[in-house]
């Protein structure tokens, strides 16, 4: 047993080195740097410890606060829509017999498309002159064509639409796994009792896929807190900072403006938000017995 222990450690070592150097050490380093003033464009000030000042500045920074608000709206609007559409798709996939494999493959397509490609694609669909959306709404009447991505009221909505389209399939797959774990005889029993389709959905399906719903909710929330590609490609955070989500703001401060200390404070803030949901997720993994999810 001892030698197999040593072998196990040896087997784990390479993975541990990569994860430590490129994930664990960086996260600690981000925490440490968030307590320093460090600006790449002003190298002569060096690395000056300034306590909580970056966090105080962050709290007083109206752009950061708006960015936080934008991120919360983004998450709060896209996740419920993804779960709703995802559930609809999962219910259909669960019921279809002819061509189920084909339909499931088609559903995977938005998931498989690189985010940068889907970002350019939606940017083109929302284009002010050649865009499909303008054509659908206004037909040939070019004078009424809108420029959604340049409009402070529409840009975030456009980005949220693109996000929902791309990520709904993932939610659908998790929910489908949940649906497939529900035993058929429960539905048969409900039918014998004279339950309507809605009653079956409300009293059999919904309670039994609650774990899957919660799982999809947490997983998608953690992922959508790090939205970046869509914003980078479609709007660069504009117009007037209306789509400036936190991860994009942190990127801008760190890599465009070289404000390493302040950027680290933003990074830590995003990390802590995400950690809250991650802990909820880990707790869920530990306690749930994956009712209806074991395959």
């Amino acid at each position: 047993m001892k030698s197999s222990h040593r072998a196990a450690l040896l087997f784990l070592l390479p993975s541990f080195i990569f994860v430590t150097v490129f994930s664990l050490f960086p996260i600690f380093e981000s925490f440490r740097l968030s307590f320093y003033r460090l600006i790449l464009t002003l190298p002569w000030i060096g690395q000056k410890p300034i306590g909580w000042q970056n966090y105080i500045d962050l709290w007083d920074d109206p752009v950061a606060m708006e960015s936080l608000f934008t991120t919360l709206i983004f998450v709060g609007v896209t996740i419920p829509l993804e779960l709703l559409f995802g559930l609809g798709i999962a219910l259909v996939l669960n019921d279809v017999f002819h061509g189920r494999g084909l339909l499931r493959a088609v559903v995977l397509i938005p998931w498989a498309i690189p985010t940068v490609v889907s970002s350019q694609m939606w940017r083109f669909i929302f284009n002010d002159r050649y865009g499909l959306i303008n054509f659908i709404f206004f037909g040939g009447d070019v004078s009424r064509y809108l420029a959604p991505l340049a409009d402070p009221h529409l840009a975030l909505i456009a980005i949220m639409a693109a996000e929902v389209w791309k990520t709904t399939p993932f939610a659908a797959l998790i929910l489908l796994a949940g649906l497939q774990g529900i035993p058929d005889d429960l539905y048969e029993a409900a039918s014998i009792d004279g339950a309507t389709a809605w009653q079956k959905f409300r009293h059999v399906t919904l309670p039994l896929i609650r774990p899957a719903l919660l799982l999809a909710l947490l997983f998608r929330t953690i992922d959508s807190l790090r939205v970046f590609d869509l914003v980078f490609v479609m709007t660069q955070g504009g117009p007037a900072d209306t789509t400036n989500v936190l991860q994009f703001y942190g990127y801008k401060k760190t890599f465009a403006e070289g404000m390493i200390g302040y950027g680290s404070a933003i990074a830590v803030a995003v990390f802590l938000m995400s950690l809250t949901f991650s802990l909820a997720y880990l707790r869920f993994m530990k306690t749930s017995h994956h009712e209806g999810m074991t395959r």
């Binding site: 541990f16 994860v19 996260i27 981000s30 259909v92 019921d95 690189p114 350019q120 590609d229 991860q247």
Partner: protein, 271 residues
């Protein structure tokens, strides 16, 4: 309405929802310049290949594809090699600290990129690995290992340990038992994990953007995101490059969808 009819209608609606936006982009790539700038937009193109030619010749599409193949290919191979070792240990020795390690890995896979981006950049800078393949590959290995180890552990646990115990008794070392007995038996699972790692590396943008600032080494997503064009965007070429970047992935997904779905669910669900 009859149930089968309703189902067929819903299925059709779902297929439209998933296909139309991308199909529109593919059709755009097959237009001629005149058709592209027509207002209102022309729906059916004349199946011109001019934009593909110009994406290849003027924008160096092949060169970005080459970089992506190198980076995603190397990252996949190394991740699976290192990940298999770790997952084998996890699957066979289910001790307290291996569970703890799995949990740490799961937590790491949820880090927002920005939380580690600055320090990763400085580490690569100190190694002189910015704008090199190995810099991005090393980052991708670290990012993919958690999910790869999770999926591989799930699959390795399904390989009965009796077979390899027999191999051990016959005088195989642990490492030999792994690659002679366990790997062949878990091949479908390894393939699934490799596919997911490859798709992730092929699609990744954030780290590619900050690590590869030199166009010579940039991957396809960076090339597509930073397509040059200030006032008039070269939409024809962008859509052509996007189609080329996406069609291989869609084909892989269609062919291996069963495994992918299973892998995604193993990654998200299994505890």
């Amino acid at each position: 309405m009859k149930r089968p009819l309703a189902l067929a209608l819903f299925s059709f609606g779902i297929a439209l929802y998933c296909l139309v936006p991308f199909l529109w982009f593919v059709l755009t790539s097959l237009k001629s310049s005149a058709e592209l700038t027509a207002t209102p937009p022309k729906l059916i193109p004349s199946f011109h290949l001019g934009f593909y030619q110009s994406a290849l010749e003027k924008y160096g599409l092949l060169h970005y594809i080459g970089n992506s193949v190198i980076v995603a290919g190397a990252a996949t191979l190394i991740t699976i090699a290192i990940g298999s070792l770790a997952a084998y240990a996890m699957a066979r020795l289910q001790l307290g600290w291996t569970k703890f390690y799995l949990m740490i890995l799961l937590a790491i896979s949820m880090f927002p990129q920005i939380a580690i981006a600055g320090p990763v950049w400085s580490i690569l800078d100190r190694l002189n690995w910015l704008n090199t393949y190995q810099g991005l590959v090393a980052t991708y290995i670290a990012l993919s290992l958690p999910i790869a180890i999770w999926i591989l552990t799930t699959f390795f646990r399904e390989v009965p340990s009796e077979i390899e115990e027999a191999a051990l008794i016959d005088g195989c070392s642990r490492l030999q038992a792994l690659y002679k007995v366990v790997l062949p038996l878990a091949a479908p699972g390894i393939f699934t994990a490799a596919l997911l790692v490859f798709i992730h590396a092929w699609n990744e943008f954030f780290f590619a953007l900050i690590i590869m600032t030199d166009p010579d080494v940039q991957t396809l997503p960076v090339g597509i995101a930073l397509f040059p064009g200030e006032y008039t965007m070269p939409w024809g070429e962008i859509s052509a490059a996007s189609t080329v970047a996406t069609v291989p992935l869609i084909l892989l997904t269609l062919v291996f969808q069963r495994g992918i779905v299973r892998g995604l669910c193993a990654g998200a669900v299994k505890g």
